[in-house]
């Protein structure tokens, strides 16, 4: 039963001209452009729509940003731990991470225009009558917010571009020193990433409700980020296998591992989410429970509706995937894993929606702008990702551990 080695042709691991992938940047870009315009047009129809637009746009940008940042985290951890198994999918993550600078362009101008509609602490009259907001002013002021936001984006974009470029340089040169350099730099990068991600979560999401605070919030934001990244990475890898690029390159072993990590971080998210809720619920201190009250109660007219959203999050982001992703057969079945990963992406979108929207609607409502913003940002995101992916090999073709990764088997 001795088999010869599996043969992998690296020259086939590029996007083939004429395949759907080659058309992706154009199509997605067109969709993104059209729906961005549509969103802007809709936003200008009334003051309410403008407000809605800023919130919908924030949800959409943060959702896709999470995917990019989670992929950046994957790349950093992969280098820091000198991991072998994931080399075949690392290039996909490197490319997705490099969508961050483009998302910064979508984030900064829109949020800048929407500051007043999004963040209560920018209302000078509110601050004048609110002792807590006055105390927080050294942190919650527009200058500080923008300085920090620019720092976050510069740091993340710098890291993402550095790791993608170094890895691509290795494709050409095969220089092993690059691997060593990335491995040495990555632990520091992880530390910087952790701090910036935490404060970005505080600034962009936690301060939507400026009275509320939770030390866990940064970890919560991180957990969701990683879940969405592993889900996106799984979907992308499956798509490349289906389109033939990765056939015979990635194996059930890689999908099993991606599925395990998706499962693990789904459980981790649940642990963090439950702990945060639980401690606040248990101690029952009014200044903290507020945030959850607005997510557990609607208006008098319709008291159950945000509660339903919260229940959906608990069940859909934890209970269902917990049982669905647990068996090893599901993680090794392409179709079922695809369903699981798409479901987790949808649930992460729901999570971001749930974090942002109670700020705008006391009663849960959907708007057409939610959809158009998502398509607008998503189109740009996919176009960027598709363009980046088409720029070279789909795997780090001369990474010294590529063969280890291709031959990898689970325990």
């Amino acid at each position: 039963m001795a088999h010869g080695p599996r043969i992998v042709h690296l020259d086939q691991l590029v996007i083939r001209p004429g395949s759907g992938w080659a058309r992706l940047p154009l199509i997605a870009g067109a969709v993104g452009f059209v729906f961005t315009i549509v969103s802007i047009v809709l936003a200008r129809s009334s003051p309410e729509s403008t407000k809605q637009f800023f919130h919908s746009w924030l949800v959409a940008v943060v959702f896709f940003l999470c995917i990019g940042l989670g992929c950046l985290f994957f790349v950093l951890i992969h280098h820091a731990t000198k991991a072998g198994w994931g080399v075949v999918v690392r290039r996909l993550a490197e490319n997705l991470a490099c969508t961050v600078p483009v998302l910064a362009v979508l984030f900064i101008p829109v949020v800048a225009l929407g500051m007043y509609d999004l963040f209560h602490w920018t209302h000078a009259d509110a601050v004048a009558h609110d002792r807590l907001l006055q105390v927080k002013e050294p942190w919650l002021n527009e200058t500080g917010f923008w300085i920090r936001t620019v720092i976050y984006f510069v740091v993340w974009s710098g890291l993402a571009l550095y790791f993608r470029n170094a890895s691509r340089r290795q494709d050409d040169s095969g220089d092993e020193a690059l691997s060593r350099r990335m491995a040495r730099f990555s632990p520091v990068a992880v530390a910087v990433f952790a701090v910036t991600l935490t404060f970005a979560g505080f600034d962009w999401l936690m301060s939507l409700e400026p009275h509320w605070y939770s030390t866990m919030f940064g970890v919560y934001f991180f957990a969701g980020t990683v879940v969405s990244a592993f889900a996106a990475l799984t979907v992308l890898t499956l798509a490349f296998e289906r389109s033939g690029h990765f056939r015979g390159v990635v194996t059930g072993e890689h999908f099993h591992d991606l599925g395990k990590l998706l499962f693990a971080f789904t459980v981790f998210w649940a642990y963090i989410a439950f702990s945060q809720f639980f401690l606040i619920w248990y101690a029952n201190i009014p200044e903290e429970t507020n945030w959850f009250l607005s997510r557990l109660h609607g208006t008098d007219h319709n008291p159950a509706n945000w509660r339903a959203a919260t229940m959906l999050l608990a069940i859909g982001h934890f209970a269902v995937p917990f049982f669905f992703l647990m068996p090893r057969t599901i993680k090794r079945n392409r179709t079922l894993l695809l369903i699981g990963a798409l479901w987790m992406l949808a649930m992460h979108l729901w999570d971001v929606f749930w974090l942002v929207m109670p700020n705008l609607h006391r009663e849960m409502t959907f708007s057409l702008l939610d959809l158009t913003s998502l398509l607008g940002v998503g189109g740009v995101f996919l176009a960027t990702a598709g363009w980046l992916l088409s720029r070279g090999s789909l795997v780090p073709s001369r990474d010294p551990r590529l063969v280890e990764s291709l031959a990898f088997e689970n325990i």
């Binding site: 439950f274 639980f278 619920w281 029952n284 068996p327």
Partner: protein, 202 residues
């Protein structure tokens, strides 16, 4: 220990030998040999190694363990019973308002429910593994082989049992030698003279 019965299937009745025991020098040779024994159509046989040889179950043609189903069942039972106990205690057994919360406060029951679920699953895993592996089995014909003490040191063995339909005293031994076994021996089922010292090991 002498009271324990031998772990020999009833099929052994009428056989004078347990079977053939062959030792291989390397994991690679053992792996190949297992593939060959499997492909030759033997069914009552085993590989015996000091450590789990990676992927050997594939070479032996073994089906995956069914243990996970048992563990899922015991885990869910543990969690379910734990949740039921807490609910009953606080609603029926000893109803008491604590920190102004309702009697049925499910979030507060989560930690203990979780812990009992893990306990159930872990007990299921360990006790299930013992049951599936028929542990403890203090007596086994293989322990009669002096060579066999190496199985917990560096010995990599294949044992083919005498009641395998394809078994033949001579052919099977030669078959194993042909696969690269460095030592091949016939293992007796039982030696009445030996019984007094139990033979549990060594």
């Amino acid at each position: 220990m002498g009271l324990m019965t031998l772990d020999v299937p009833e099929a052994s009745a009428g056989y004078s030998h347990y079977g053939v025991l062959a030792r291989f020098e390397t994991a690679k040779a053992l792996y190949r040999a297992c593939e060959a024994v499997r492909d030759a159509g033997y069914s009552k046989w085993d590989a015996l190694t000091p450590f789990p040889v990676h992927g050997l179950e594939k070479a032996m043609g073994l089906k995956p363990s069914k243990l996970p189903f048992l563990v899922l069942a015991t885990g869910l039972s543990g969690a379910g019973l734990g949740f039921a106990l807490q609910s009953w205690v606080h609603i029926q057994g000893y109803p008491l308002i604590i920190s102004g919360k309702p009697l049925f406060t499910w979030p507060a029951f989560v930690p203990v429910t979780f812990e009992l679920g893990v306990l159930g699953a872990a007990l299921g895993a360990v006790l299930g593994m013992f049951a599936f592996n028929k542990l403890p089995t203090y007596h086994h014909p293989l322990f009669r082989s002096k060579n066999f003490t190496r199985v917990t040191d560096d010995g990599l063995f294949i044992a083919i049992e005498a009641w395998d339909p394809k078994y033949d005293d001579r052919d099977t031994a030669e078959f194993l030698s042909g696969l690269g076994a460095v030592e091949v021996e016939h293992v007796p089922i039982d030696d009445p003279a030996d019984d007094s010292d139990g033979g549990g090991a060594a």
